[in-house]
């Protein structure tokens, strides 16, 4: 009897839990529109793998929308392309184990020819071995951790490809944190003219990598890093760190991390202690939308905290046909594109262009998946996309190394594009 009670309680829990995960797995109905042309077409899918629920939905949803938009706009003769949408957020936070599981789900579906995603670098770390084993090509619009593709911090990315060390099954259109960190230092030193900085990170792969590069580059430009802190991502009480910053009185604060690990709160507490006049910079982890959108950095930091804040995104903002893209996006989703919508669109174009090249004549889905992977992994192939023309190098990194700079605009209460810098043409040093 008493065990029956426990069972009842757990059943309730299971129902609630499945209710909250069930709402996220529904495939995008909008994506399948328009692509039902002639008679004997082969049905293939492009997977998407982003955080779609909870606090990180403002990151994942606009990217997944970019994929849906591309599929509705572009037809590949002989193929019907649809989307298989996955969500790697567990209880509202991106989860590497869930990501790996999702990628396995996509790999088990033989009609999936490629996957766009993930958003978070530590999710990619868990997914790359799965994609490598399955020979399923992944294209991330947003991953910026350098170690995913090139040797970084003494670790060789070959360790992420245990099954087929020489087969690349992961490419990305986003440039890497070494450039985003450099861009952050560029903003601090050359735009705000800061000469001293306090640098903190959320002790996670992305945040620490970004902050490390910022610290090195800021020092290389001639600035002085007064103090380097690591603040666990679960922290809500930043008051003691802010008190330290107040004592240090730096000219700039750089915080490597994402909104959910607390940078907004850090900034809010800076405002509470009366030091929001010190500029704060971060990477694309805080360029997650306007102050009016729920749980973005700008909303959490509050009116006083938003002032004097800077961020970057790993990719171009001035893109070919930007107005047309924004109009198409708005027509389909009735909202402005997100930071990585165009990049996700470009990733989809990479797959569709590869499919158009290698697809005709292939009937075996397994061979098709491998052909697409091999085509995308070949550095000689170039793609004409929403982001412009680029190709992927032997590691899977894009040849387009552009970082966009943003600053908070009090008039619109949103990030305002300042400029973009091509780090291939003009390296920082």
């Amino acid at each position: 009897m008493k065990y029956a009670r426990v069972g009842a309680a757990l059943t309730v829990f299971a129902v609630v839990a499945s209710a909250c995960s069930g709402s996220t797995a529904s495939p995008s109905a909008a994506a399948s529109g328009g692509a039902s042309g002639g008679g004997a077409t082969i049905a293939v899918k492009i997977g998407t793998e982003f955080p779609m629920s909870g606090g990180e939905a403002p990151n994942g949803v606009p990217a997944a929308n970019g994929v849906a938009l591309a599929i509705s706009k572009i037809q590949v003769p002989g193929f019907t392309v649809t989307v298989s949408q996955q969500d790697d957020a567990v209880n509202g936070v991106h989860n590497p184990q869930q990501g790996a599981k999702n990628l396995q789900t996509l790999a088990n579906d033989s009609s999936v020819i490629g996957v766009v995603g993930p958003y978070n670098s530590n999710v990619a770390q868990a997914e790359i071995p799965v994609g490598n084993a399955a020979g399923l090509m992944q294209c991330s619009p947003a991953n910026t951790a350098p170690g995913l593709t090139k040797t970084w911090g003494g670790v060789d990315p070959v360790s992420l490809r245990p099954t087929n060390p020489t087969k690349i099954a992961y490419v990305r259109t986003a440039t890497t944190d070494d450039l985003q960190g450099s861009a952050g230092a560029d903003i601090a030193f050359n735009i705000t003219k800061a000469r001293t900085a306090y640098v903190a990170d959320d002790t996670q792969t992305y945040g620490k990598g970004l902050a490390d590069v910022f610290a090195t580059q800021f020092a290389a430009l001639g600035g002085k890093v007064l103090k380097r802190d690591g603040i666990p991502g679960t922290t809500t009480d930043f008051t003691s760190y802010v008190t330290t910053v107040k004592g240090l009185a730096p000219q700039y604060v750089f915080y490597g991390g994402v909104t959910t690990s607390g940078i907004g709160l850090f900034r809010l507490q800076m405002a509470q202690q009366g030091i929001a006049n010190i500029p704060l910079g971060g990477g694309d982890g805080i360029s997650d939308g306007p102050a009016a959108t729920k749980s973005t950095f700008l909303q959490i930091a509050g009116d006083a905290g938003d002032l004097n804040t800077y961020s970057t995104t790993a990719g171009p903002t001035t893109i070919p046909n930007a107005a047309q893209f924004a109009a198409d996006y708005k027509a389909m989703f009735n909202t402005e594109p997100g930071a990585y919508s165009a990049a996700a669109y470009a990733c989809t174009q990479v797959f569709l262009q590869a499919l158009a090249k290698v697809g005709p004549g292939v009937t075996d889905l397994k061979a098709l998946r491998e052909d697409v992977r091999a085509y995308v992994a070949t550095p000689a192939n170039t793609y004409d996309t929403a982001l412009g023309k680029f190709s992927f190098d032997a590691n899977g990194d894009t040849t387009q190394k552009i970082i966009s700079y943003f600053a908070f605009d009090p008039a619109t209460k949103n990030w305002k594009f300042l400029s973009q810098r091509d780090f291939t043409a003009q390296p920082l040093q």
């Binding site: 209710a19 103090k227 004592g247």
Partner: protein
């Protein structure tokens, strides 16, 4: 009284020398912070220059410690009376912060209230509503989920508690908000100066409120009839029943008080940090549980002490430039204390060792 029952005195009186020891510990903590600020290589402060910063850090530590202590009291009270580690308690704190968020936003507040009378009125209302609602939720949870399991093997209610915590978390996740919500910070962001000491109004409010609630709780447990019933139920449930104590009411009362204190902590969370989120209870609950164990679980004074100890450990790690290790420091200290004093700092019962 046999020695076995002497060992089980969960709500023991505070010994006379406790205030002296506490004052001594606070002075030590202050100097550890001061030395940390002085030793910070990035600042090169003089002794005089370091004092205001050390003092600000000291206030930070006491404030966060007070919040942990308020939550820890609920853990320790429930453990003291039915020997259940109520893992849902952190979620009660979270729900409390959402109740106050709902109340303040429904009333149309978005920022600081400058009229002192209105501010006091709204604060009283927010605390009364949140404490009452969470107290009732605590009683309902006890009635529905724990009472039938009171004589079941210990593992059953423990797992139920974990289940309840997920249920509460998911209810808020699905029904209210799946991400961070910003709470109106109605207390003005002013700094008060008392001679050489400066303290933020919100910090002072949090500390006074928490200490006030703790003193009230202590007086209630040690001086009132119901408090005596709680103590006797904790020592020997059957004997208490034979002496005419209504066990069910007494246990429900314990849940009510513990949950109301967590509800109060939830209001403070919103006022102090300006945000709340559905999963905030996990981390806070874990810290508060650690505080309760650190102080000696089952012992209310110990829980309060443990809360402040954890607040200080976190701030000290940050001041010493080791924020990266703050969680390792907190849990490392827990391990150390348990190795040398398995019953916690103030040494209380470990349940039935038979």
């Amino acid at each position: 009284m046999t020695s076995a029952t002497a060992a089980r005195r969960p709500f023991a009186a505070i010994p006379w020398r406790a205030p002296l020891v506490a004052a001594f510990a606070l002075v030590i903590a202050y100097f550890v912070i001061l030395v940390g600020v002085l030793a910070d290589p990035s600042q090169h402060l003089t002794f005089v220059g370091a004092i205001p910063q050390a003092q600000a850090q000291f206030i930070n530590a006491v404030t966060i410690g007070a919040i942990y202590a308020l939550i820890a009291l609920g853990y320790t009270m429930v453990y003291g009376i039915i020997e259940l580690i109520n893992f849902a308690h952190g979620e009660i704190f979270m729900c409390g912060s959402f109740v106050s968020w709902w109340l303040l936003t429904t009333l149309g507040f978005s920022g600081a209230i400058s009229d002192p009378l209105l501010l006091i009125g709204v604060l009283i209302l927010a605390f009364a509503v949140s404490m009452l609602v969470m107290g009732i939720v605590g009683v309902v949870i006890e009635r529905l989920a724990y009472r039938r399991l009171r004589n079941a093997p210990r593992l059953a209610p423990l797992i139920t508690a974990i289940g309840v915590s997920f249920i509460l978390q998911n209810i808020v996740f699905v029904a209210i908000s799946n991400s961070i919500v910003t709470t109106p910070q109605i207390i003005p962001n002013t700094v008060l100066t008392f001679g050489p000491v400066t303290v933020g109004l919100i910090n002072l409010f949090t500390i006074v409120l928490a200490v006030g609630l703790m003193v009230a709780l202590h007086l209630f447990i040690s001086r009132t009839r119901l408090g005596r019933a709680m103590r006797s139920t904790a020592i020997d449930r059957e004997a208490a029943q034979l002496m005419g104590v209504d066990i069910n009411t007494t246990i429900a009362l314990t849940f009510f008080i513990g949950s109301a204190l967590a509800g109060a902590a939830g209001v403070v969370q919103g006022l102090y940090f300006g945000i709340t989120v559905f999963n905030i209870g996990f981390q806070a609950g874990l810290k508060a549980f650690t505080a309760a164990v650190l102080g000696g679980i089952g012992n209310t004074t110990g829980a309060a002490l443990g809360g402040f100890v954890i607040g200080f450990l976190e701030v000290i790690s940050s001041v010493w430039g080791q924020g990266r290790w703050s969680e390792a420091v907190v849990f490392g200290m827990l391990v150390l204390v348990l190795v040398f004093r398995p019953t916690g700092i103030l040494g209380q019962q470990l349940g039935d060792r038979a």
